[in-house]
């Protein structure tokens, strides 16, 4: 990794002999890609060793996949305020290894990102670190207290790409209605953490047989769909853009599928734990698998896979939530919820492809183009000419065993510890600069 190399002077590079995954052209074909400095010049099947003109440094990818860098629409960077868990720099390194080139960070920092200064602080820090491009969600409510609306228009103008109250549900129907309605004038999007707060109070895991056996308080999976159903009415009423984060139940998929059919401006994402794991991962009180929302039943997991395959679920996000060991090495009920996700995002998502639920291009689209479009970041998640050379090169088949102690994230809380998986990032470029290269 050589972060010191600046974009200017990175020169002309040609990547040939690649499996080119282009989510805009919707193509998955052999080809190559040319970049000059920080910009994509051209991509396509006609770029081969023989067509590359002089002056290009040529990289033969030997058939590896070349795709736009991943756009992760839900991650916590923990800076400012929780730097013992993660910083923008450690998150950036972790993202680079995971092939993530654009991050949209949650505003639940300390202080909360609920004013223009906060948005500018993150942008400045990320520029200085020079790794993944970091955008932020502005808070919907001041201090994420769920009471008064923030200066959403100003936040938007300063660069906040959408709005959410971090890991909290926007519980007040009035607040959500106002936020949805107000944000229509600048095409803003409100992201909801759908979990009815009264029903989920004090819950440590999904309710059901396992929670009963373990003696832990459970939240019914219906707490999610109950919140979604109310919020859909508010979206319909206001015409606002509403997005549900990390949906985890079959009922949620079903209700959103119907809402989309009705023509509502509603979208949703999920995260790898919800399609790769079920609640059995918390047996033995494994706090690393304690998440919010909690891991669900196997039926729910399968419904999430089906929702991804049929397009009901628009995007896949890492839900990166670094927690230090002391927050996790506690009795289950007291332990913090959450998992780091950057470095497992791609291989876990690729399981959908390896298990033949989705095509490779569809998986990549949900990790790149769709999230970029949802948060209206132009020039991300694409291989179009003239856009930034944010790229990931990966081997979709390479087997490896996940070992969180090798992660570059400051926190090691992964529910995928020890999992045998396939798919490894070989190289990550941001603005044409190599920020990660295997073996470097």
């Amino acid at each position: 990794m050589s972060p010191a190399i600046r974009a200017k002077g990175a020169g002309k590079k040609a990547f040939i002999n690649a499996r080119l995954l282009d989510p805009v052209k919707k193509t998955d074909e052999a080809g190559g890609l040319l970049i000059e400095d920080d910009t994509i010049l051209k991509s396509g099947p006609d770029i081969t060793e023989s067509t590359v003109s002089e002056g290009f440094e040529v990289f033969d990818l030997g058939g590896a996949c070349l795709a736009p860098g991943l756009v992760d629409m839900r991650a916590q960077l923990r800076e400012p305020g929780f730097e013992h868990q993660e910083t923008i720099e450690t998150a950036g390194k972790s993202a680079a290894i995971g092939g993530v080139t654009t991050i949209i960070a949650l505003p639940n920092t300390d202080p909360v990102i609920d004013d223009v200064a906060g948005v500018e602080f993150i942008a400045r820090r990320a520029r200085k670190v020079g790794l993944a491009k970091v955008f932020v969600y502005g808070a919907v409510s001041k201090g994420i207290a769920g009471q008064e609306i923030t200066e959403m228009g100003l936040l938007h103008q300063a660069g906040a790409v959408a709005f959410c109250d971090g890991i909290k549900t926007i519980a007040s129907a009035r607040l959500l209605r106002q936020a949805l309605s107000y944000s229509t004038f600048f095409d803003g999007m409100i992201v909801q953490h759908p979990e009815e707060p009264e029903l989920s109070k004090g819950a440590a895991m999904n309710s059901g047989e396992l929670a009963t056996r373990l003696g832990l308080s459970g939240v019914s999976p219906l707490a999610e769909v109950i919140q979604i159903e109310r919020d859909l009415r508010l979206a319909e009423m206001t015409g606002g853009r509403l997005h549900f984060a990390h949906i985890s139940t079959g009922e949620s998929v079903e209700v959103i599928r119907k809402a989309k059919k009705r023509g509502l401006k509603v979208t949703c994402d999920t995260a790898p734990p919800y399609f790769a794991l079920n609640e059995n991962a918390v047996s033995d009180y494994r706090t690393f698998a304690k998440l919010s929302p909690p891991l669900r039943s196997e039926d729910d997991r399968q419904a999430i896979v089906a929702g991804l395959a049929d397009g009901t679920i628009d995007a896949i996000a890492s839900d990166h939530n670094p927690q230090d060991a002391d927050s996790k090495r506690l009795p289950f009920a007291q332990a913090a919820a959450g998992a780091v996700g950057f470095e497992t995002l791609l291989p876990m998502a690729l399981e959908l492809y390896h298990n033949e639920h989705m095509s490779l291009l569809d998986v990549i689209t949900k990790l790149t183009r769709t999230p970029a479009e949802l948060v209206r970041i132009k020039g991300a998640g694409t291989l179009e000419e003239g856009t930034a050379a944010d790229l990931v090169i990966f081997d979709p088949d390479r087997p490896w065993k996940i070992d969180p102690y090798q992660f570059h994230s400051k926190s090691k809380n992964s529910p995928f510890d020890g999992r045998l998986t396939q798919g490894r990032v070989l190289r990550t470029l941001i603005d044409g600069r190599e920020v990660f290269s295997e073996g470097a």
């Binding site: 059901g208 003696g215 009795p331 007291q334």
Partner: protein, 319 residues
Amino acid sequence: MGPAADHYPHPHLLGIEGLTPGEITLILDRAQHYAEKNRSADKTSNILAGATVVNLFYENSTRTLTSFELAAKRLGADVINMTVGTSSVKKGETLIDTAMTLNAMNPDALVVRHGDSGAVKLLSEKVNCAVLNAGDGRHEHPTQALLDALTIRRHKGRLHRLNVAICGDIAHSRVARSNILLLNTMGSRVRLVAPPTLIPSKIDRMGVEIFHDMEQGLKDCDIVMMLRLQLERMEGSFIPSVREYFHFHGLDRAKLANAKPDALIMHPGPMNRGVEIDSEVADDVERSVIREQVEMGVAVRMAALELLVQNHRKIGGQA
């Protein structure tokens, strides 16, 4: 009922889950031996002389703590009681830290009670002595289930083919979970009797029948096991009032009449008289074995401590 196992193969006693019928019988047989000894003039032995037993209690308890203390002392062990307040916000950190600290003092057994499910297991992973679960959250309370089983066996002569009704606050009860596991393992049938709010989700999958009506639930049962209504653990409205609870789900003579005439009345204590049980039945010397349960508690804990500490000595302190 099959034969007793020839040894107890586990490093700890964290729950009934995972114990075989033979292992349960082994503990009960040994406990029966101590029950007799405890009634004689020669109550003490030096079988655990030189061993150190630490009682680490994160929840207030007089009865269980005293029972464990007495059990260890009757076996000749050195006993230290540590009662840690639950008010501390960072009690979890303290749990691991305390475990490490105590472990450094080389105890032979740690007896632990904690308000969080799974906390005792977590602690057992950090120490290399035997750990005995004296109750963790709503999860398990294995010695309670064992002492209940011993009491039942002494009166009924068996632990299989019995109809056992466990009544009351199942939702917040570790006693209920351990008893369900034990009685199912030994071949008895368990019914749960409680208002719907106190029945945890999908508990039927543990192999129990569920009743909300107490008269139906008690019909023809051999054992009526009452649970303490744990108002202190309740968040929100599980029951409308204590008065209403007693009316529908408190054990009195009239409801008890549905059970078999020789049905035993049990309660893990401490009792809320007039809440889950009427004093008239609680103190019925013909039917109530509540005081004998307390007596068997000491015997069962002696047996458990003996088996665990001896195991621990055999494997040279490597858990």
